[in-house]
Each structure stands twice: as structure tokens, then as C-alpha cells.
């Protein structure tokens, strides 16, 4: 690709969904063995725009609508991947994992190990995650911790268009199963306005972002805020607000939960001494606990304060006042940062 084009491209801003689709389209063009299966991914283009426009280019054989039978088609992706193909299977909402988790965690994630790596499973499982639009307890979860806990799958959570594209290229090229969790609120879907952050400049050409490298989204001296997905943007907002009060927060976007970039977190806490972990998953036995434990294990001496901000172990309630209460907001993050500093 010519240098000039690429320069131009960097100016170009995309929504997160466009960036994700661009990576998929590119990989499908390059490699005939890549295909996409899911419910409403063909004519509809994905309920959350995850396959918008791909049917037109690739046709029904490669952008495949499938019966509402997640076990069957995710398992079929496992079988096709073991034959060397590179399927992408979409779970429309991550909340539906309960109907197909055996294929995900006992087959997709373990077949490599259980075979002593004589087979591998180069597939991507995409899933929409997250709340903030009052879809209640069965359609608003992130379940980050649930997937990250079980071995054998890489777990990816983009927070911007730039990352969404780079991580998707990596996910499709990776020879292991990758769970790619995209937050609905970040996608830039017409009917669900995104905040400003996720729409970013995105180069035209393909590029990869390696798994296991967290991104320091904002440097700061006083407090380390570790987060991912939608909450990257909420944390940045909180940090900006606090800057006016002279509190200088560092904001780290984990980007992948497996592998986890503990290093970047430890380095930051070494500097700040104070750790705030922010997560849209349930508080207990999940992401926030893990990050705190990693720091306690390896950087206890540095640690002067910890705070966690997450969904307080209740199912997601429907009504707005209650959903707003349990999904961490900017003010919750601000309060936690202040409290970590006091």
C-alpha cells in the first residue's frame, strides 16, 4: 500500500463496528478459509453491526445465518477449525453462553491441550457484551471474569476502533481460540449512541495489536486506574474531571484479559502506590479481584490503597435508576480514586 494512502487513512475516523468489520473483511479476502457464522449475521448484518456489509461481498456461503442452536454451530466452528479452517462464530449476546458453554470451554478451549497440541482450534468467538440501555438481567452482562477464568481461550476486549481492528486481525490470525468481546455501547450503532472515545482514526491497511499488551491511555502520578471496555472511557472522563482538582490519575486499558499484562499494571502501581480497578462485570470472584491479587502478590510493598468499582453482585436490574446505580459511572470512579488517595 502506498505511503500516501496510508497517511490519508490515518486521518479517517471509524466507529468501532466499522473497524471490526474492516478487519474481518480483509482477512476473508486474504484467506478463503475464514468464514463467519451466527444468527442474523447475513441479511441483518449482525444485530450490533458486527457483520455490516459483509454478506454483499462474500455471499451466503461465507456469511452464514444459522439456526438458533448455539451449541450446534459453535461446536461446528470447533470442528471446522480443527480441520484447519478459520471460523468466526458469533454469540449474539454473551449472556447466552449458558446454552453452549460446553462447546466453548470443554471443547474449543481444551482440545489443544487434551490432544497435546496435535490439533489446534484457530477460531474466533465474537460476543456482544455490556449494559447501559436497560435490557435487564439476561441481556446486559459482560461476564469478563467468567471467560477469563477458564483456561485455553484468549480473551480480548477492545475499547476503541483502532484497537478493535488490530485486535481482530490478531484474533483471526491467531492459531488458538480467541474470545472477542465487543461492548454494544461502543460499537457506534445507529440506535445506541456511543460516547466520543471509541471512534478513532483507523489506518486503512491491516495491522495487529499483540495480545497481552495493555495500553496506558493516560499517564498520571497519583493513582493507577485499571479497566477495560466501556469503562476505559468512563475512567478517562473521571481522570479529566479530577485533574481539575489536581489529582493525576493514570488510566490503563487492559485490552486482553488472557493473556494479562501484569507488568504494565505493576509498573504503574510502583509509581502511584494506589490502585483502583474498574470493571463492568460482577464484583466478586472476577476481574477486579484478580488484578488486585496480582499486584498484592508481586507489588505488595508498593501498595498503599486499593479500591474496586464493579457491579455489586446483583443481577442487572431493568429500571433506569437501578441500572445506573449498579453499573459503575464516572462519579463512582471519581469517588474511588479520591478514596484511594485519602
Amino acid at each position: 500500500m502506498a505511503q500516501k494512502e496510508s497517511q490519508q487513512a490515518v486521518e479517517r475516523e471509524l466507529t468501532m463496528s466499522r473497524a471490526m468489520v474492516e478487519a474481518i473483511g480483509h482477512e476473508m479476502r486474504e484467506n478463503e478459509e475464514v468464514f463467519y457464522m451466527g444468527e442474523d449475521v447475513a441479511d441483518y448484518g449482525g444485530i450490533f453491526d458486527s457483520t455490516q456489509g459483509l454478506l454483499e461481498e462474500f455471499g451466503r456461503d461465507r456469511i452464514m445465518d444459522v439456526p438458533i442452536s448455539e451449541t450446534a454451530y459453535i461446536g461446528a466452528a470447533v470442528g471446522a477449525a480443527q480441520q484447519g479452517m478459520r471460523p468466526i462464530a458469533e454469540l449474539m449476546f454473551v449472556d447466552f453462553f449458558g446454552v453452549c458453554m460446553d462447546q466453548i470451554y470443554n471443547q474449543m478451549a481444551k482440545n489443544t491441550y487434551m490432544s497435546g497440541a496435535s490439533v489446534n482450534v484457530p477460531m474466533v468467538l465474537t460476543a456482544a457484551v455490556g449494559g447501559t440501555y436497560n435490557d435487564a438481567a439476561q441481556h446486559s452482562q459482560t461476564l469478563y471474569g467468567t471467560f477469563a477464568h477458564l483456561p485455553g481461550m484468549k480473551v480480548v476486549v477492545p475499547s476503541t476502533a483502532y484497537d478493535a481492528k488490530g485486535l481482530m486481525h490478531n484474533a483471526i490470525r491467531d492459531d488458538d481460540p480467541v474470545v472477542y468481546m465487543f461492548h454494544k455501547r461502543l460499537m457506534g450503532i445507529g440506535w445506541m449512541p456511543a460516547p466520543d472515545g471509541p471512534k478513532t482514526p483507523v489506518p486503512d491497511e491491516p495491522y495487529t495489536i499483540p495480545f497481552g499488551s495493555a495500553d496506558v491511555k493516560r499517564e498520571g502520578e497519583d493513582v493507577t486506574v485499571v479497566t477495560l471496555g466501556l469503562h476505559v472511557h468512563r475512567a478517562l472522563e473521571a481522570a479529566d474531571d479530577l485533574a481539575e482538582d489536581g489529582i493525576d490519575a493514570e488510566v490503563i486499558d487492559l485490552r486482553t484479559l488472557v493473556p494479562l499484562d501484569t507488568e504494565t499494571v505493576l509498573d504503574s502501581v510502583e509509581k502511584t502506590g494506589r490502585l483502583v480497578v474498574v470493571d463492568e462485570d460482577y464484583r466478586s470472584y472476577g476481574v477486579t479481584g484478580e488484578i488486585i491479587a496480582r499486584v498484592a502478590e508481586e507489588g505488595l510493598a508498593d501498595l498503599e490503597a486499593v479500591e474496586r468499582v464493579a457491579v455489586p453482585d446483583v443481577p442487572l436490574p431493568y429500571a433506569r435508576p437501578m441500572e445506573d446505580e449498579v453499573i459503575p459511572g464516572t462519579e463512582d470512579i471519581e469517588a474511588a480514586i479520591r478514596s484511594a488517595r485519602s
Binding site: 442474523d40 431493568y318 429500571a319 433506569r320
Partner: protein
Amino acid sequence: MDIMVAVNELQSMFEDMVTARYYEERLQEEYLEGKQPAFDISAGPIPGELHLAAGQEAAAAGVCRHLRDSDTVTAPHRPHHVAIAKGVDLKRMTAEIFGRRTGLSKGKGGHMHLFDPDVNFACSGIIAQGCPPAVGAGLAATKRSEDSVAVAFLGEGAISQGAFLESLNLAAVRELPVIFVVEDNDWAISMPKDRVTDVDDGSQRAGGFDMPGVRVDYDDATAVYDAAKEAIGRARAGNGPTLLEVQVHRRMGHFMGDPESYRPDEDKEAAQERDSIERLAADLRSEGVADDDIEEIRERARDRVDEAIEWAKDQPEPGPEEAYEDVFVNPPSGVTTEEPSHELAGGDD
């Protein structure tokens, strides 16, 4: 009409159907309010997804006409017409959909999670996952030697889901009083039936479990009534489950905001043309019911709906702190000696 159904039954079904239709028209208005000019799913008085059932009322009305309060019904993500036909408290259901503290679930559930234990109604937003609990209700009835039945409603898209298929087997092998009602509107969001299964007639699934399967090809409430009568009668008499598929028509998008660009115009038009409510009105007329009487039913339905919506909008919102209640009915540590409360919600707030 070659099926004989008593006129008062026809009138009752008609009332359920027009109530449901008008209810959803009103909900739609309320839903779209605040979502103008740009549609924002999280804005307005009713946020979140909203799945309307216009065109599917005959299935609910024809089946539920045979049910008692003690019979259990589970519905899927598209529940209003079924809830109304089952006799769910319309005011508290509406308050729930508006996210109010006096709603059926104190505002915690929303439109896909309506529970009314007084009439044994529940719904769930996960495809086909209402089937196993319906089997459980049938099992409970059998264990208690009660003649209650349980009905699981689902869409034709759900007939390829394990939860449904496993439930057929469990109900069949235990001969439980369960009726599975498939509302075949030919679409699962954007996927037409013939793209996702090879059988035209979903009730054919029953054969693999040695269970009777019946299809009503025509969403005439009276035809549904008749088929349901037999199936429910069989279940109540202890003769086991039935799978009943009913043709219905989806007059609207899958959910509010669905552009339906995947759907051929002819198909949309056909769904508008075949209106089982108008058909039933014609039946009533041919049974000698006067136009005035029919109009009276419509008016009663409208009044009831308008009243429910007004009432609901007047109800208080839950406070943020209420989010922390109701995860458990027993305090987190230790067991109380009290019986769990099956009382109406709202008592403790």
C-alpha cells in the same frame, strides 16, 4: 365456520385479542416518545428492547381460553399477548414495563421478565429456556395429583434449540401435562423458517419423541381454540404432552427499531392482510353478534388499557438503593424460619 365454539368464548377471545393489540399500539407510542428525532434505545419512558406481538394474538387467546389461574404458562421474549390472555395483572405488568416500583417485579424485570405468580405466568428472554420450567410445573402438578397443566410458548425459531427438544423428551417419557405451543410467524428476527430448518411443519418434531404433534395452519382463533382444547384436555386427563404449532403473522419488526430491510415487501403486506382479529370480528358477526356489541368490547379493552397505562405512568420509580434487594429471599447468612413470601411485591418497600 365448521368449528363450533360457544359465542361467549368467541367474545372472550376477541376481547383478549383486541386488548393485546391496542395495548401494544399504546406501548409503541409510549416507547417511541423520547426516542425522537433519533432512535435511542436507552431513551424515553420505556427503555431497552421491546418485542411486540401484533398479528400473533390468536395463538395466545385460543390456547389460554382453556386455562385456569392454577395452570402455568411460560412465554418467551414476546410475551404481552400471552400475558394478557392468561390474565396477568395489566396495571402491574404495565408499571413493570415502565420500570416502576409497583410493577410486577418492582421494576427489576422489564418486559422480557414478567412474573405473575397469582396466575402462574412467567417469561424469559433466552430462547426456549421457558420450556424446562414448564415441564417442571407439569411435574409438580403430577406429584401433587393436581389436574393443572403447563403451557410453554415459543417461536418457530426456537424449535432448533436444545432446551426445547430436551423438554419434549422429558415431558413425553414422564407423560407430563405440558403443552408446547409454537407460534410460527415464519421469522426469527431476520431468518425465515426455511433457512433454519427443513421441516415446514414444526410440530413434526414431536414424532421423534412419540408425542402427538398438531399444526394449525391458519391463525384463526377458533381453530386454535379447538386444537388447544384437545391438547389441554388430554394433558389434564393425565394422557401426556402435545406439541402444537400455530401459524401466526408478525405485523411489525422483530423489536422496535428493527429496520426490517431483510424482509420482502410482499411478506410484510401479506402479514398486514391476514388479520385474525378482523377475521374473528367477522365470525362474531356471522354468529349474530351485533356490531354495537363488538364495538363495546373494543371500547372496554381500550378503556382498560388506557387506564392501566395512565396508572402505570403515575407510579413511583424505584430508588437506586432498591437494586440491592431481592437477590435472595432468605438473608444471606443463615436460614430464617419464616415461609417465603409469595405475596404481591411492593409489600416491603
